[in-house]
Symmetry: C2
Subunit: 343 residues, 2 copies
């Protein structure tokens, strides 16, 4: 029911061309008297510009997509908020794409975004490496092809962690981040330190695990106390459950805050004092970590998202080799303490 440009033009007694120029912020000159008449007519017919038609002809959809594992995860939520903030300021729409890290779903979304001629795609999560021996689905290769084809066709692709296709990168040094918390733990006098790792095969997990191992080795400590995990609360819970039988470690580093919180709560429920008996730390500094006073590493999630969106709006070149690394920062809080009973 909203009026079209033709309606406005007819009512104002001008051509659609002139109406378009007056209404769409064109730099083409339009006499002020005619302009006024057009604006009046637009108001009267309730003119609503068709973004669809506009996008079709200008080849600029003003749409960006953000591909995340799960928007409920505060890590992804913060990133998305950053991206949406800058998108909104520029009149762009932000599509939220939950994939649960499933390549099939990622692929489907990339196709959908391509069909809508999205101007850019932000891959918030890491990709899967074959290194870990994990059998990656056949869709993984197809995903790479599709993304690359989209990029060639002009859609800007930004990734916030290592991916197997070419892309502009905006990231943090995940390895260093985990190295830093782990070193902090060793500096506190802890010697038996465990790591609850992220999903097997995921590049982000691998980087953090590697940082943990490096820090342990550098401190002449055993780096092999690694527990399986999935970046979620239950991972931490499960890891602790398995630990409870044997001798507890001095400290436990979660691959992210969520799993660390799982560790923390399960430990306390079992009557283990934190940080009295065991120190616990995570990575990311998501909101919940503040609630439980968790020691962690601050990762600039909001800025990652915001910068990614900015990279998309910066019209220029296909910068598929750009790499920006944002700084992280250790945030000591109440779940870590100096070791009470030195060897």
């Amino acid at each position: 029911m909203p009026g079209s440009l033709a309606d406005v033009a007819r009512r104002a007694g001008v051509s659609v061309a002139t109406a378009s120029r007056a209404l769409s912020g064109s730099r083409h000159p339009v006499s002020s008297v005619v302009r006024a008449r057009i604006e009046q007519a637009a108001l009267e017919v309730g003119y609503a510009p068709s973004a669809l038609a506009r996008a079709l002809v200008t080849r600029r959809s003003r749409i960006i997509g953000v591909i995340v594992g799960d928007i409920v995860d505060p890590y992804f939520a913060e990133i998305t908020r950053g991206a949406e903030d800058v998108a909104r300021r520029h009149g762009y729409m932000t599509i939220i794409c939950n994939t649960d890290r499933t390549p099939v779903t990622e692929l489907a979304y990339v196709r959908l975004l391509r069909d809508y001629q999205a101007e850019g795609i932000v891959f918030a999560g890491g990709g899967f490496d074959l290194a870990a021996g994990a059998h990656l689905p056949p869709e993984a290769a197809e995903l790479d092809r599709t993304v690359d084809q989209a990029r060639t066709a002009g859609v800007r692709v930004i990734s916030l962690a290592a991916r197997s296709f070419p892309s502009t990168q905006v990231s943090v040094d995940n390895r260093a981040a985990c190295y830093d918390v782990t070193s902090y733990a060793t500096s506190l006098g802890h010697r038996r330190i465990a790591h609850v790792r992220g999903p097997a095969g995921l590049s982000t997990s691998a980087a953090r695990l590697s940082g943990f191992q490096a820090a342990m080795s550098d401190a002449q400590l055993d780096p092999s106390l690694v527990y399986e995990g999935d970046f979620d609360y239950e991972s931490g819970q499960a890891a602790v459950t398995r630990m409870l039988g044997r001798q507890l470690p001095d400290a436990i580093i979660g691959a992210n805050d969520e799993s660390a919180i799982g560790v923390l709560m399960t430990l306390r429920q079992a009557g283990v004092r934190v940080p009295g008996d065991v120190s616990v730390a995570g990575i990311d500094d998501t909101r919940p970590s503040r609630f439980v006073d968790l020691t962690t590493v601050s990762v600039p999630m909001y800025e990652l998202g915001a910068l990614a969106a900015r990279r998309i709006l910066e019209r220029p070149r296909d910068a598929s080799d750009d790499r920006t690394v944002l700084p992280h920062r250790l945030v000591p809080r109440g779940t870590t303490a100096r070791r009470e009973h030195p060897p």
Copy 2:
């Protein structure tokens, strides 16, 4: 660079009409031999259907918008996930719109969604009432008009809480939810019970506050111990800070989990035992509430979002009078306990 329908048609030696029918899942018959040739050609030219052009002609954009306060808030994140899940399954895109409850931003987004001919808009948060005497901005009225005009034009508008414009409602009984936790507290023997309310003027806050007051009155208790709040952690923190000087209440009911967690953590930091000295409860049952073992009321956030999306995809009528109320459920956990020192 992706091929268009014309490219495919040329290559397959057929008309665009036939190509369209073969490729777009039309019910119009196409001989299997020709169909095969077309599909082959599509593959060769890397055909990518233009969702924009398609939307323009079919008048179905396959776009839905979800308007939330802040996607970082777990409450909104869960709702959004629910909506996105069903949208994705139907090949729809979900636009995330953060407004920080600012009518101006809501208005801007409604206009943007209307310009893209979004098929539906989900208003996840409540609206502002004038009742509270809060001066609502002039954009509020304009918002109502714009939304109503959009609805008349065919976009389905669903709201998850009371709003001042006509809409299909999918909600929970916020008043009853708060009545229930409050009653639970009184049933535990608490008599001095405080409520940290939500933002002034917001319909959701008002409903919950009303539930609190009703439960208190029904229990013959003083319902006037109400603290200002804003649905956030800091609200809870601030409320407790003001309480600490005087006699502490027996129990504190937050208007939502986030503020309740603020209350909880601040209390404990001040050395107050929870639930030993004071009981604390919230509303919503967001993930973080499980982390801190907070007593709360489970609100089916995911289902709210999912059902809202379904209401949009159900093509039929403008059901601007439909109201579906989903059930809530008290979830007693560790932050509440029977009163230790009865009067």
